[in-house]
């Protein structure tokens, strides 16, 4: 177990991106060389409706400092309706996290189309900045998972 | 000599517009009722800010010929709104000491009995600190 030093805080951020819009938007951000911090790691899912709240809680439990989910804009889901379900699920989950005292802003949903490389990069920059302002996630981390 | 870069930044900040969005279509100049009185034309204003040639702008006649009629603001297809840039440059000048375009002692000779208060108030706001 390492001892916390005065090192600069590098947040762990998990981004769930749907394959059709947001992942492609992230690709576009890449091919347009629109940078955002390396703290963001993307997990590809077929649709935002594939994101189980358990995944998000799991990430926090394992030490993530922020989790963001990106999907197609409402109305543009590749599977027609997936993001509408995702929107309800995430709204309720976020509200619950707020209710148990997790800082607002550790979770976020953003709709990013395949054409919105700029938005993707901007969103990630903003989100990382927000997590920096919130600091390390101490409330939800399963302490056993720190190595 | 002012710092041209920071002055340009200040103009962008005051105006809240991004001159880089300009596509140089000239619709602002096509629209402007004061065009013929201006030495630096509305569309040129945009590139002057981009090129940070602020000295020329603040010394231009155009600053005091703009009517703030918002025609260019309304019609600009790129959301650049040159009228706002001009007003910002004017602010830059009047906020500096002695930059007023309208001096108090020249007012009496400009007055006429029918002149509405509104005119004086507006001119004061636009021309003076």
């Amino acid at each position: 177990m390492s001892i916390e030093t005065n090192e600069e805080f590098r947040p762990k951020i998990v981004a769930f991106c749907c394959n059709w819009c947001s992942y492609a938007g992230a690709d576009l951000a890449g091919s347009s060389r629109l940078s955002y911090p390396a703290d963001v790691k993307i997990i590809r899912v077929p649709c935002s409706c594939r994101v189980n709240p358990m995944f998000i809680l799991r990430a926090f439990e394992k030490g993530a400092d922020g989790v963001i989910m990106c999907g197609c804009h409402p109305g543009d889901c590749h599977y027609s309706t997936g993001n509408y379900y995702a929107r309800r699920r995430m709204t309720l989950l976020f509200s619950m996290l707020d209710y148990i005292g997790v800082e607002n802003g550790r979770t976020r949903v953003e709709w990013v189309s395949a054409a919105e490389g700029v938005k993707f990069s901007q969103t990630m920059n903003e989100f990382v900045e927000k997590i920096h302002s919130l600091g390390k996630n101490v409330r939800l981390e399963d302490l056993r998972c720190r190595s | 000599m002012r710092n041209e870069h920071s002055a340009a930044e200040k103009i962008k900040e005051i105006s809240g517009t991004n001159p880089l969005k300009c596509m140089k279509c000239g619709k602002c100049s096509a629209t402007c009722p004061s065009f013929n009185e201006m030495d630096i034309k509305p569309h040129q204003f945009v590139s002057y800010v981009v090129n940070e040639d602020i000295e020329a702008l603040v010394n231009s006649k155009s600053l005091w010929k703009c009517l703030s009629c918002f025609a260019c603001v309304e019609r600009c297809p790129r959301d650049v709104k040159p009228g706002k840039l001009i007003d910002a440059a004017r602010q830059l000048v009047v906020r500096e000491k002695g930059g007023d375009y309208l001096k108090a002692d020249e007012i009496p000779e400009l007055l006429d009995p029918e002149l509405p208060q509104q005119l004086l108030v507006s001119a004061f706001r636009r021309y003076r600190r």
Partner: protein, 264 residues
């Protein structure tokens, strides 16, 4: 129906008649203009600089008073309307301005753009209704060909003023029709009269006003109406004065048969 009313400095002075006709007509139409207390001058021009607060505060005070009374705020002068409407938009939508203005004002409850700002013409159109107005007309202005002069401040920027189509407005024409007269549509009705520039650059204003007058005359107008004291001044002073210029409220009072009341 009661409205909060912001007359503005010119209507207290050089444009008294604009105000008096408006009040008399309001009574005739069954609504009341309740002048807000201790109003201050709006400043005449909207401070475009996004970093300015002080010049916006008088508008905020007026807006907040209306809010406290739970009334819509009515204006008549185009300049006042423009300034107050835009400041209201700032208070509603621009967080930075809202925060700074509220910090300065220290109100019991922060003002966040809750008040609806209406121009007198909008009250006629949206609250009274031009159909209703038409019914109340006792002296229809039949046969008069009237050019509406909008100027800049009521219409632009269209998104914020949301007064009418900034390039092809109809509210004043509909108003003219309601009074029984014939509106004359001419292309310079939304072009600038020169505004405050006439103080120092008379020729510029003359140039513009002449174009406006010529255009209106060319399309057959025999008079112009406006809502703005400065427009009226410029059109009177800086054009050939072949067309008389009236405040729209004067014609309104005339059509409603209350003009004499004011003259007394």
């Amino acid at each position: 129906m009661k409205y909060s009313y912001y007359p503005g400095c010119t209507l207290r002075n050089k444009a008294k008649d604009l105000d008096e006709y408006a009040r008399a007509s309001a009574r005739a139409l069954g609504f009341e203009l309740e002048e807000i207390e201790d109003w201050q001058c709006c400043g005449g021009v909207y401070p475009l600089g996004t970093d300015e607060i002080a010049t916006k505060l008088s508008s905020v005070r007026a807006l907040n008073q209306a809010k406290e009374k739970g009334q819509d705020l009515v204006t008549i002068c185009s300049a006042c309307h423009h300034v107050i409407k835009r400041v209201n938009d700032d208070m509603k939508n621009v967080e930075d301005i809202r925060t700074r203005a509220n910090n300065y004002m220290q109100l019991d409850e922060p003002y966040e753009g809750e008040t609806t700002v209406l121009h007198y013409l909008e009250v006629l159109r949206d609250k009274v209704g031009f159909d209703k107005l038409k019914e109340k007309v006792v002296n229809p202005l039949t046969g008069k060909k009237i050019g509406a002069y909008y100027g800049c401040l009521l219409l632009r920027p269209g998104k914020i003023m949301a007064f009418d189509d900034p390039e092809n407005p109809t509210i004043m024409e509909d108003f003219i029709r309601a009074l029984g007269a014939e509106p004359v549509i001419y292309p310079y009705r939304n072009e600038c009269c020169g505004g405050y520039i006439s103080l120092k650059e008379k020729e510029m204003s003359q140039n513009m006003c002449q174009k406006i007058e010529d255009s209106a005359k060319g399309f057959g107008a025999d008079m112009l109406i406006t809502a703005c004291p400065l427009c009226k001044y410029n059109l009177n002073k800086n054009a050939s004065s072949e067309l008389p210029v009236y405040y729209f409220t004067e014609l309104l009072a005339e059509a409603l048969g209350v003009k004499e009341e004011v003259a007394k």
